[in-house]
């Protein structure tokens, strides 16, 4: 068992990390960090547990630490649920102190030698860990993409061989992506907000890196044009999106590719039976009914039509955030980087 910690363990993504790691077969949850005013108290006394799954009792007995590298002496790996504006410094310090960092924060995602990884899509990008080590780091930083980018790119995995380069995507995103207090009820109730700060840019830019290829010490971006329109809708969990791809092959060929997909990774503990589930019902996927497929790690695809058009949907705080980082860590472990 590898001792691990969670940076920023009391927020929405932090609580998901704690849930996913509380009984993990490879990782032993040892350290939880939060703000200075919570440090020194038991996790169960400082967290306002807001997930609709039972509170993990063992985690509750961990004494919360300050979010600094000195608090992390006992762990080999940390998961970062920190907000982007404070994640940068502490994540770098961890990596230089010999700790592996699997981060959900946006800060380091686009740096040249930081892998931006979805295990089903670009596991080989972990090669950048060697680049980080060559320049003297004992630890490393590995990031996962933004939640909507992950759901979209997962839907590309079964069909990337069709060499599309031009994507239009309209998202209908859940409120949990903004954290427990991110979106006032008065803002989103009986409403749609057709704007999410930086989200469209992230989808457009991160996709080029994820779909790109490892070329020596950096990633050569894929020549992808992603044009995104992002909307917030009154849904708790689960990002839905409709996509248009410039694929010339007939719908039937694409359908077979979705149905016969087998991911290039195997036997990671958090990997669901189906990384991408193709649904044939005419009105699916739907976030409330399908977001928990594969314990929240499956991306569901449906409504494939001429265009090529289809709908993709995935759980934004599991597959799109905490679960993405944990799966990355499992991949890193299986590739002997730990």
């Amino acid at each position: 068992m590898i001792n691990v910690g969670v940076l920023g363990a009391t927020g929405a993504v932090g609580q998901r990390f704690v849930q996913l790691l509380a009984e993990h077969p490879l990782f032993h949850l040892k350290t939880l960090t939060a703000s200075d005013r919570s440090a020194g108290r038991l996790y169960r006394d400082v967290v306002n547990w807001r997930l609709d799954v039972p509170f993990p009792k063992n985690a509750g007995n961990i004494t919360v630490s300050r979010t600094d590298v000195d608090s992390l002496k006992d762990v080999d790996l940390v998961f970062s649920a920190l907000p982007a504006e404070i994640a940068g410094k502490i994540e770098t310090e961890c990596a230089e102190a010999g700790i592996g960092v699997c981060s959900n924060a946006a800060t380091h995602r686009m740096e040249p030698d930081i892998p931006l990884v979805i295990p089903e899509l670009n596991p080989d990008h972990l090669g950048l860990i060697d680049v980080q080590r060559d320049r003297g780091r004992d630890g490393f930083i590995v990031t996962n993409p933004n939640c909507s980018t992950i759901v979209m790119c997962m839907s590309f995995a079964p069909i990337r061989q069709f060499s599309f380069t031009d994507v239009r995507v309209a998202t209908l995103q859940a409120i949990s992506g903004a954290g427990f207090a991110g979106i006032p009820a008065m803002t989103i109730f009986d409403n749609v907000v057709p704007y999410i700060g930086s989200e469209e840019e992230k989808m457009e830019r991160e996709t080029q890196k994820i779909m790109g290829s490892l070329d020596g010490n950096s990633i050569r971006p894929a020549p992808f044009s992603v044009s995104a329109c992002c909307h917030r809708v009154p849904v708790i969990d689960g990002h839905t999106m409709s996509l248009w791809l410039d694929i010339k092959e007939p719908v039937e060929t694409i359908r077979e590719a979705f149905m016969n997909y087998s991911p290039p990774i195997r036997d990671l503990p958090s990997q669901p039976p189906f990384s991408v589930q193709f649904m044939t019902e005419q009105d699916r996927p739907q976030p409330r009914l399908d977001r928990m497929r594969g314990n929240g790690m499956t991306v569901s695809v449906g409504r494939l039509r001429e265009g090529i058009r289809y709908v993709a949907m995935g759980h934004n705080t599991i597959r799109g955030a905490a679960g993405a980082s944990v799966l990355n860590a499992e991949l890193i472990h299986s590739r002997k980087y730990l």
Copy 2:
């Protein structure tokens, strides 16, 4: 004052007609029809008024008639809120009995000599009324498009001179479009349904007719390719949509066109101050905040970006249904067809 009736006056769209016509400057609400079991009773005793505006007392005192042409002897014009499956026969009978019909039903929309009209876009299509009369009808049928088609096409009005032909549109549609009982709460609560029966086909097909040109006795369809992805979202009123258009002109040129738009019609009673309102805030339009602009007759546009991408939003049961029919009737009246 012209005596008018409403066919199917107790449903969601029927109630909107009654609201809009109760104090209309041109039309006098004389006849309300409903199912046989309601006939002979006062409207106020049979309607379950579900709009959040006060019940119009005068309309309440009208004795409800059966939905047949004999009940319509006193009116020159009827508004049809009937479901598509029963609208066809009675609307035709009315037209042949010398009554003008402004219909929100889909049944006759695509027939060659039936105008499918949005006053700001194709008022000249009313010329088909003459075609109908030439073949012996004393009355006529004029239809308005489907709710999402109307909102989309209204957003084209200020920019149609840019000669785009390729449109992709993702809609986020309100629940009221399906009637008072159309969508169970268990279906749409905390959810998105990425499918609305026939909606995508209507948007694709109706647009070609609306944007087409009157050519002798029929409409030559515009060479429009509309590729639509329709989603139902948990919003009461107001259809939001994101669109991509193949326009080469720079964003700034398009913005000016939106801001300087002046519609080709004037002074119709239901016409709002702004048929299309261009919003500059980065997160607008939003259905809850903007659907009642222009008493529900304004279509709001915003988030214009490279692509060309933008967001359009309009009230689906006012501008997208009952209000559309009433505005058509006002146009018909101003063009002396009544």
Copy 3:
């Protein structure tokens, strides 16, 4: 293993029964019935699975039967999820054909020799099974109360020794209680409906029977006065209610009773670790966060104050419907009535 069936297996409560019985340690799910038009087809082909838990594959392979007693030759026990208007006849026929019936339907609840049972409260009422048998039935009918009655009465279990007789209760009830299509979204969205047909009467009347005592061949009703005000609110699952009880003891005494409660039943498979969970946070219980405690079988209680006032909340389609029937069946089994 006892072979069991579900009557009305495709509706909201029927699906919950299938979910709860699919991998049950005592009961083997053998027969599923539905309407005539579904009979003869596989369950997976006729059900529109709407629960947010995975579809149980084994149940999917059962060929659906017609809802009549001839279809139930292979089972010893059936669970009835039938609507009240058709449950009466078939349930009686089953009981007379030697089959045990655990029914969620209201039809037989108030009949003199039919037990209306909540295992934690009145397990001895099962004695009425003997009364039924004495009059010649080989099988039996046992019913569970209405969903809101169950949540309320469960909250009485730890404190019934304080001999209150006067209860006022205001409920805030979830939409799932009305079935998948029971409540239109337009009715309950951004709204409260302060009326649920027959609900207040059920709470008032059923409670007297449940809290009553077995006296020879029938139940002597408890002298309970329940005055209920029932409201439907926009919540998917979980009935919340505030109660006032005429208890003279101090709040602290009541709190200790809630915290030290131990139910009179033991080791039934569906019984949760805590039948009644007392919460000390000032703003709990809440339906979204607490309804799945004890796999939906725990009733949560909080906000105990002078009055005596408190809040109770439980899952209406699990503890309040299908789970209630299954727990009753487990109790019946443990008492050797099967």
Copy 4:
């Protein structure tokens, strides 16, 4: 016309004040105050208008002032939408500087010589203005009760002659009461929160003062016992509540009182045609359908039953906040205190 100002004009209640005062027949909106960083800019440039009614253009051209007494030289009356924690000081300063203050803030409500007024219930309590003036104030402070207190007490107005003293009330309160950003969507979505800080205490305490009688220089509290259970529900506007009253008279007598109610005030501009509307439909009032009756100033009552039980509902930010203050000001004006 009397020149008036609004203290705290950019928040949820402040915007309602601006809406209600923008075209008022007695009051001329002259001054709008906000935080220091907004001072000196036009109201239209600092307010994020979130009401679903059109922005009042004239108000938009007012230059926002700092929230201090020096900014209020031009007005004779101010409406206070300030949060309780800062309202106290500035309101007192205004009153001492000769300005009348109609305040929605809780700060001064329970002070002995400050009237807590609902015009239909206790207009004579304005006599305390004389008490304030006797101790040297040129201006005055008049407050309106908390939103849920107002809705409840308004429902007492037609029946107070029945001399009840024991009230139990369960509220289902809308989210707008907590301001635009007060309640995160993640908190209240698909949920009920059975706790609102200080709300139950306010309902219990304020009612005694409102229903009390002016006795010399202070109010003798009415011997009212109000036992409240307050719940937040996912509704935008409109507080619904169920009440039990210890009235011995038969239901029919109470019904007649509700139906024949005529308020003791007349012809105030914001007074609705019916201060209390008694509804006979079995499922009304409902917040979405009934909150805008009387432009949001009517309290609707229904479901009167043995108990005595009934349901009351009113718009919490109009009748329950800004509209309450404006109506108080109109009463003050009609009684020549201005």
